[in-house]
């Protein structure tokens, strides 16, 4: 936050048929938007393993965007419904980890919505910028450090808890 040159880094997983094509359309239409999101192409948003999202955050992303076809429009029929379901589960986990909702977003963008690619990315970049860096790799190092230093004294309360249970 103290670094004035800090730029949010967003990893985007776009499905091949709708959102990736929409991003292509945004390009063809020369719509300008923030350069902070790098797109990884997948065939379907259903391929987005929650681990990809966690991995991106763990490796230093400040936000993750998943783009798929609108409900009912999935090229594979229902892949986006599976994504939606998984996303709800993952959201709970992320909240427990203290990761703000604005950092991980699921958006439906159809192949014709080039303008929406701009709106979503710009909006997300601004929100993440306001939240500041996530710095998960650094935090993880700190947490790991805490774990190692507290291994011995932490043994007792854990046993007590186990006894209560």
């Amino acid at each position: 936050m103290s670094d004035p040159n800090w730029q949010p880094r967003i990893v985007a997983f776009f499905c091949n048929w709708c959102t990736y094509t929409a991003a292509d359309l945004a390009g063809v239409s020369r719509i300008k938007y923030a350069s902070n999101a790098c797109v990884i192409r997948l065939m379907c948003s259903g391929r987005v393993d929650p681990q990809f999202i966690l991995d991106a955050l763990a490796k230093g992303a400040d936000g993750v965007l998943i783009g798929g076809c609108h409900p009912g429009d999935c090229h594979y029929g229902e892949g986006n419904y599976k994504t939606m379901r998984r996303f709800q589960m993952l959201r709970r986990l992320l909240r427990d980890m203290g990761i703000e909702d604005q950092r991980v977003r699921l958006e439906w963008i159809s192949a014709s919505e080039g303008e929406r690619v701009k709106t979503v990315i710009n909006d997300m970049v601004e929100q993440v910028r306001a939240l500041g860096p996530l710095n998960l790799p650094q935090h993880r190092a700190e947490w790991d450090g805490e774990m190692t230093s507290s291994t011995e004294p932490a043994g007792q309360p854990a046993e007590q808890e186990a006894a209560h249970a």
Partner: protein, 666 residues
Amino acid sequence: MNTQNKNGEVRIGFYICHCGMNIAGVVDCPSVAQYIAKLPGVVVSRDYKYMCSDPGQELIRQDIREHKLNRVVVASCSPSLHEHTFRNAVESGGLNPFYFQMVNIREHDSWVHTDRAQATAKARALARAAISRVRFHRALETTRAPINPDVLVVGGGISGIHAATTMANAGKKVFLVEREPSIGGQMAKFDKTFPTLDCAACILTPKMSAVRSHKNITLWTYSEVVKVEGYVGNYTVTVKRKPRYVNEDLCVGCLECIQACVFKEPKFADEFNMGLSKRKPIYIPFTQAVPPVVVIDPERCLQVRTGKCKKTCLEACADRQAIDFTQKEELVEIKVGNIIIATGFKLFDAKRIPQYGYGLYPNVITAIELERFVTSSGPTGGEIVMRDGHHPKSVGFILCVGSRDMKTNRWCSRTCCMHSMKLAQLVREHTDADVTVFYMDIRAPGKGYEEFYDKSLKEGIQFVRGRVAEVTDWAMAPEEEGKLVIRVEDTLAGFVRRVPVDMIVLATGMEPQADSQEVRRLFNMSCGSEGWFLEKHPKLAPVSTFTDGVFIAGCCQGPKDIPDSIAQAGAAAAEAMALIDKGYIEQEPNTAYIVEADCSGCKSCIPLCPYTAISLDDATQKAKINEALCKGCGTCVAACPSGSIRQNLFEDEEIFSEIEGVLSYV
């Protein structure tokens, strides 16, 4: 083909394309190439003006030979444009084409960003991700699936008719499905066609009857597609055949049943004549209808509605026994390899612009209504009459009604200028009325169209430039009494005019069909924001859609005139036949597969597959994937708890390394 990676050595060639100034104008290409050159495994890293050109591709082939490359990464445009080109180049250079990875730095970078430093940084990140990913690529083979040579054409307007006959003439079996009781579409309603003023019926009806008599065409009118399953080469389509209560094969089109109907006088609005005439519950859509058989309107027929009718029509039909009140709705399943969508357009509802007075003033009509008036087979037998029966002495045409208008539709409907000028000429031919055309711009860009405009001017048709503000019957001068007054700013003369006329014709624009969204979903297509079906590429693939084997033709893709619709229909037919005559479909090898050793047989993947490609092997108690059914969405891969389902081209390690790649560049 490639053995080098067995000993683990990866030799990557990286190429960044300038695309003229399209990429190089915003991204510093040489600096990206220099940055990538330092990454481990990268043997050559070059920037080049046009990678997709012959010398660009040759560069790749030469490097594969000279530097013994076993991986190739090209940073250029979208993979949807040139992935195929570069895979072919890599293959002709002697490598398996799937050792290739493409980076999109044009559509996703240089075209959407303006800051050179930021765009270059993004290009580096994306390129680095591809370099990390390509290490994990494996040699893959494309699989081939057989293609069903039969074709479905949806929509029996001029586009559908032309596409169907073109393919049928080439020996393909075609199913033509039309929602209305007759084929012909909008063109059947026209009297004459611009710019040649040849009779629409004379050029259309022979094509319509050719459809019916063609041995390769199965024509189903009064039918709708309700379900589409499968994929290119192997579609299973369910068609709902609505009961017309008349056996098409037995009816000879004598029309005696219509005479005999218990309704002595026609009393229901005739759809074909835009409600300008009446029909009975049993009717024929129009004289030249194909098939030339009657149809019974279930909403109006006493027998169908109540079951209590004398059934005089049955008596009239006598021993032909064509009328059959026991007909039920039927669902028919057909199998086809390709589908051509030609579902057309609907006309803008002029009531949406109340200031033009359509529906309020009886002598404000739409262009298609005038079209029916001037047709000799129309409700007035070719006479242009006002509602009071008199011939108009003056007619005004208002253009761009529901087109080029921020309040209704922004697009130009492309045909209304020409259509109005044609009607204006026909009005001059049929009456001695003065004709004034109120236009914003005359758009006459086709072959012979500008000449047609000149002809209109020479024939004494007046043109006033300006968007009409309103139509009113409030007379402010004696010559305006009893007339409709058009208020308009004449933008060439620079003042507001009041022009009194007897009859006003609104050139209503074209709109997507009301159910275009449902149709789009049915066939897995996309729509533009206006609702027209979206083509795969606006220039290079104008009749293809994002779903392979589904093509679009005619006005369902956007407003167009008859020559353009026919050209598109021919193009769609050619595209479909190119697939059919190839004989097989090449499938991208992005299917999922099981690592049996890791599978615990938990079965969580089985219900996830929309194609039922996964099942449990009884013998091994492990999941197995039917590769022929798998479409490569990867949903099961993401869900497998043990990570034992994997996906070709989208392996976990490939994606994880891509994530790492985009994030490791600071």
